[in-house]
């Protein structure tokens, strides 16, 4: 009986608190704009920018041979879609300058007597120098160029070598590659679900925390502390509006994903919403914990920002978790973002269901419980 009375009372209080929260959010000139415009912008711009695909490498060529073969080789390279000829230099030093000026990314030097040596069975030589400041780019550029040269070489061998002398004993293993779940190797498809996670984190973790610290600073928090409103109730009233906002935003996200990128999840929406619910709980719990420890807005914002940075870096958004050293993988295991991102991507692209994602599900539930308990405990009305 007493319990029911208590619950009624709490519901009663929440009603009033929620009214207040929603009014405040709507009246805030900044928040509503942020909530809707920001996700929109991120989803529209990010996927186009965030890509590691290497195309349009700028090539600088030094052709000291000016022979049919050298011309053919150069032609072949240019007609592949990977390279653009941006510089022709008479010698290496000049070519290097074009790299220094960021005019080209890679240099191909064909020495004199290139054709002659090949025809005379002396083998051929070319020099490839790649700008490796961006190691991956340099490596990939090098590889592409190399493979085009090899291809070119195969053609020459075919032309020049008498049929009988082809080393027939050399076996070839034919490799056939099949790409599943994302046959067009569309990087955007990979980014969009991950971005939704990031947006959700910012909106449901960041904003409620700011809201609480703001009340602390203004002193209205004290007025609430002195009233019969219990700790958990106040926090709940802060969170519920943002949960609702989170769900709305994520739904808009799905729409944008479909409308702009033609992305439809291979799995069920209900799976996504289920995980989203748990994730939102987790992340808002964390936000609250932070808000309890920060006394000024500046502090709170900075801490949130710091964690956001850390979480985003170690989430697999930009760089794969599998490639990280063990210690980093460990830290990533404690990153709720990472788990949710895995989930999002799996459900969207592979059509996974919760059973298959059990690890991540358990991890997220664990985090949600942990952060929220911590949040309630650390919200002190008494000091």
């Amino acid at each position: 009986m007493v319990v029911r009375q208590r619950i009624n009372k709490i519901i009663f209080m929440i009603k009033y608190l929620l009214k207040k929260e929603f009014k405040q959010i709507l009246r805030n000139s900044f928040l509503p704009k942020m909530i809707f415009i920001f996700p929109f912008m991120v989803l529209m711009v990010f996927p186009w920018a965030a890509s590691y695909e290497i195309k349009n490498l700028n090539l600088s060529v030094i052709d000291n041979d000016h022979s049919t073969y050298s011309q053919q080789l150069i032609q072949k390279i240019i007609s592949s879609n990977y390279f653009r000829l941006t510089d022709v230099s008479p010698n290496y030093n000049k070519a290097l300058k074009s790299i220094e000026r960021n005019q080209s990314d890679i240099i191909l030097e064909i020495p004199t007597n290139f054709e002659k040596n090949l025809v005379n069975r002396q083998g051929g030589k070319v020099m490839i120098s790649a700008n490796a400041v961006n190691g991956m780019k340099g490596g990939i550029g090098m590889t592409y160029l190399n493979s085009i040269v090899m291809d070119f070489n195969a053609g020459i061998i075919h032309d020049l070598m008498p049929a009988a002398q082809i080393p027939g004993a050399a076996p070839t293993i034919e490799i056939d590659t099949q790409y599943r779940f994302n046959p067009h190797l569309n990087y955007r498809v990979f980014m969009v679900p991950a971005l939704m996670v990031m947006i959700l984190t910012l909106l449901c973790g960041f904003l409620p925390a700011i809201s609480i610290v703001f009340e602390k600073e203004r002193g209205t928090m004290e007025q609430i502390n002195v009233s019969p409103v219990p700790k958990s109730t106040f926090i709940l009233a802060k969170l519920i509006p943002f949960w609702i906002i989170g769900f709305i935003v994520i739904s808009i996200g799905f729409l944008i994903a479909w409308a702009v990128y033609g992305l439809i999840p291979a799995g069920h929406f209900s799976t996504i919403y289920l995980f989203a619910a748990i994730y939102i709980l987790t992340v808002s719990g964390l936000g609250i914990v932070i808000s309890n420890y920060a006394s000024t807005l500046q502090q709170a914002m900075f801490i949130v920002f710091f964690f956001m940075m850390l979480f985003i870096m170690l989430s697999g958004l930009y760089t794969p978790i599998d490639s990280m050293p063990e210690w980093a993988k460990w830290i990533a295991a404690f990153n709720p973002l990472k788990h949710f991102m895995v989930v999002m991507r799996s459900v969207y692209l592979k059509g996974s269901n919760p059973l298959q994602l059990m690890n991540d599900l358990l991890a997220l539930i664990g985090f949600a419980v942990f952060f929220n308990i911590w949040a309630v405990l650390s919200y002190k009305k008494k000091s």
Partner: protein, 346 residues
Amino acid sequence: MILLLMPIIQIILFGFALTTEVKNTEVAVLVPTNDDATSRIIDKINASAYFDVVAKIHTTSEIQPIFRDAKAKLVMVFEDHFAERLRETGKAHIQLIADATDPNAATSFTFYASNIIASYQQELAGPVANPYQIIPEVKMLYNPQMIGAFNFVPGVLGMIMLLICAMMTSIAIVREKEMGTMEILLVSPMKPIYIILSKITPYFVLSCVNFATIMLLSVFVLKVPIAGSFISLVVVSLLYIFLSLSLGLLVSTMTDSQQAAMLISGMGLMLPVMLLSGMIFPVENMPVPLQWLSDIVPAKWYISAVKSIMIKGLGISSVLKEVAILSFMSLVMIGISLKKFKIRLE
């Protein structure tokens, strides 16, 4: 404080943990007939740092569950009687089925796998020197070991300094406005310029400390050398710090609330910098409109200059373009800020 800790943590993360290389990919192999060829190839794959063979399966129906349960990202399917076919017909098939959820990773590891298979093929062929072979001589410039940190460190520099200076400065100034103490200062006989300078100075100092920290960490812990002139690097960095401070100033004139200042500098600055400055994702591959946007991001020019000086070892004369652009941007920002400041006073 966090302000000092953040760059250190970022450098460590970027330096050691974040890499675009794809390693430790889990592989499952489907071997209908165990023979010396398949074993040899599988051994080579397992021995490579790029792969971990985690499962051996026997039927194609087991493939999809492997992907669904995320047990492996690559499934290698050998033709049956692989070695036999190779010996007798000179040709055999391997199918690589890749989980292309992350397309970048997928192309990378299928590439690595192909290389390993090719090297086995080479083993079989023996050292037959082909007189018509073109052998390329390969040189990786500036960063022969292709260390990822070389690319990231300038980016982290650009981002941290911008954040500290712009964000913190703008919040600090707006805070004063919010609290009303700004008016007190303005009413005092101190010229506005001195007030501003006093607000800016702590963050300037902080940025210099951060710069030094990042440099030390990069050189000694990450082993990223400073190939060019350190003085040039310092000069360009000072310019950039100055620019970031002006940016912070500008942001502070645009808003009266700390919340807004934070959101503008946080979202409005951090995201573009992360995305469009070339720090993580190469700008050259972006759609053209985004490339134009990227030109407006000051960090982009700074990062480019740092790469030239620090990694390529060039002198300040090679980065004149960047220097000019950065200077121009600062002047514009200061100009606008001062104007806005004056208007507020009236």
